[in-house]
């Protein structure tokens, strides 16, 4: 792959990803509103929000640490965008294929949250400090089940002799569901459930929106941010939503429909990309939109307990079942 080619692909993925991200954000808001019995904003509202934010003054509070406060939004945005480049889009390999794997994506996904916590701590607002503490506690709770789910799949792939097993392209190209036995099926389902449970927390959405908690700490981490900086955090959130959903799809539902339908060539690729986008939407709708209209906001200790006990246990059980499956199948 030539450098120029990669550049073009990257631009295409970023522009396309941005557009899809905005569309899904708009759909999320519209559908959440319909589920709540409201009319909801027009689909283009997220774009309007960002445009307006970009036109607004960028205030840096007097009590803030200016460079850290200003750097955090860029860090979050760049990390989210980079993670997008590691994502297999349907039948296509990731743009940065070969330059990093699943573990890197997991780290990249953690950076926006860390950047928000840093920015919050640097802003000097007591609300943001409380938000930052909550963000860190929440991250420490959900990262473990997330890592177990990712590692479990990669490990099972490696036992099947498929490699490089941590590469997202390999994982997406070799769905595990077909190659494991019944125990593995249950194990994979448990890991899938754990990953879906982690999704809303990764994205700080109700019931896990405690770092922002509007009625409690008035926006928490974001309380002092305005203008371009806030727009960057917003964009990072839009892209990160896509990345997480893309990760769920790549790990657990990487199937295409072109091959079963017998459509080959460029038409089949386009069909698979569209199908990939539909899968992304379904994941976002189920794990974000529906969840966030169905619950009240939990407290930080309840969130930590939820991830450290049931979710971790479920993912560990999933991993254990995959191991047992390997023993039974003799893979």
């Amino acid at each position: 792959m030539s450098g120029l080619n990669a550049l073009w692909q990257a631009i295409l993925v970023l522009v396309g990803g941005g557009a899809i991200g905005f569309l899904y954000k708009g759909l999320d808001r519209k559908l959440a509103a319909r589920l709540q019995g409201r009319i909801g904003p027009p689909l283009r509202q997220p774009v309007l929000d960002v445009v307006k934010l970009l036109l607004k003054e960028n205030v840096v509070p007097r009590t803030a640490v200016p460079w850290l406060f200003q750097a955090a939004p860029f860090l979050a945005f760049v990390a989210a965008v980079t993670a997008l480049l590691y994502l297999p889009v349907g039948p296509l390999s990731p743009v940065l294929h070969g330059y990093g794997d699943l573990v890197l994506v997991l780290y990249l996904l953690a950076i926006p949250a860390l950047a928000m916590a840093l920015g919050g701590l640097a802003s000097g607002s007591p609300y943001a400090v409380v938000g930052a503490q909550r963000e860190i506690v929440m991250m420490m709770s959900y990262e473990f089940p997330l890592a177990i789910a990712a590692v479990g799949i990669a490990w099972r792939l490696s036992t099947l002799g498929i490699g490089p097993s941590f590469s997202l392209a390999t994982i997406a190209a070799n769905p595990l569901w077909g190659s494991v036995g019944p125990l593995g099926w249950i194990g994979l389902s448990l890991l899938f459930a754990a990953l879906l449970a982690v999704t809303p927390a990764e994205l700080s959405k109700i019931p896990f929106d405690i770092p922002e908690a509007e009625t409690e700490i008035a926006g928490g981490l974001l309380v002092e941010y305005s203008g371009v900086n806030l727009a960057l955090f917003y964009l990072a959130d839009v892209i990160k939503t896509l990345v997480i959903a893309g990760l769920v799809v790549a790990l657990f539902i990487p199937y295409g429909i072109a091959a079963p339908l017998g459509i080959a060539g460029i038409g089949g690729k386009i069909l698979d990309i569209l199908f990939f986008l539909v899968k992304l939407f379904v994941v976002i709708f189920v794990a974000v939109t529906v969840i966030r209209v169905s619950f009240a906001r939990l407290k930080v200790d309840q969130v930590a307990r939820f991830y450290l006990l049931p979710t971790t246990l479920i993912s560990l059980a999933g991993l254990l079942l995959l191991v047992l499956d390997k023993v039974v199948m003799g893979g």
Partner: protein, 436 residues
Amino acid sequence: MREARLGPEEMAEKKREKTCSTCFEVPIGPVHPALKEGIRFTFWVEGEKIKKVDIRPGFMHRGIEFMGTKRNLVQLIYLAERICGICSVSHPLALVQAVEEAAGIEVPPRAQYIRVIIGELERIHSHLLWAGVAAHELGFDTLLHYVWKIREPVLDLLEDITGNRIDYAIPIYGGVRRDIPPEKYPKLKDALRYYRSLVEDLLNFFLRDPSIEARTRNIGILTREEADALCAVGPTARASGLRKDVRQDWPYFTYPDLQVRALTPEDMGLGVRGDVYDRIMVRLLEVSQSIQIIERCLEEMPDGEITSVPKVAALLAQLKKAEGEGIGRHEAPRGEVFHYIRLEADKEAPVVWKVKAPTYSNLMSWFPMFKDQEIADIPIVAASIDPCICCMDRVHIVRGEREEVVWKEELLRLSWEKTKRVASRVTRHAPWGRKG
């Protein structure tokens, strides 16, 4: 007594004394998304745990009592109606009772029933409004939108009966200003049937939802003893197991016939814990209690006059001759509303008018409730007494640029001074004794 009044430096010093060394100060208010009106909380927290709390009211003080003494008594009703937008009939209902007692005006039975009906309809819409706010404070916006949607029919009904969604302008001395004609009964009954069918849903949504239960069970506990000692009123007191309700304890209007009983969580067959969950429960139970009361009123309401003095000019003339004092109490949705009035002959305006809104009595129950709770609990605990800051604020001290806080001794002295000032306006038969 200069030292009793503190400036910013002394205040900071005093605050430091009260806090623990490892605590972090979190100010909430006077403007904050968790608060619907201006009041300032200062929390000293350790991690997420609240160690100390201080409350600073006064931002919403409007001097309504003073304005009231510049108006004639009929105009006073309109002012009383605007003390609170949500309990907008509760204040006039207490006021008319006070004036009727002072002036010795009789009220025909039908008017009594209409007053009760409007008062109970108001309770339904106020409790539903509160339930929506509580859901929002918990981050459960779906429930907020649902509850506020089902609140609309009762507002429409009130508009149909009285002409206004809020501020109904219904009570007048000696009766009510508008009848509920029998052709409107079916509409009322329809609305009641609608709400009766929803009560079970509401109880389900609020009390059997795991995430709401996780956020409200054993949160913001006010024990029965504390509620009693701090003179909590209304649902706040009842949720702590105190069977305290003006409609039960000092029945007025037609409440003696209706045999209203104060509801506590025990009526749901559950033990009393005095937490936020119980306060949600009591309010939802009261919605269904209000439906029953209105239904009985519609059945029993006799025909007849709706006011004993139909002509306003005659009423004003009669009130101008009146001499004496009266108190009026009404069980508003948030608790007891208390009005005191003193009338003198040949004076159109009341000489003294004193209003006590329910939040004034409930304010102190915040202190035991907030103790050892977490930051995340602040919005729902603050909302759980259904605070109405505007109605409650009594005083705001501003001297130039300097913000001051008046402590207890100084406040007591200022209150005595004010009583003397008020007493000097009272020319005859003043119980405080100043003559001529």
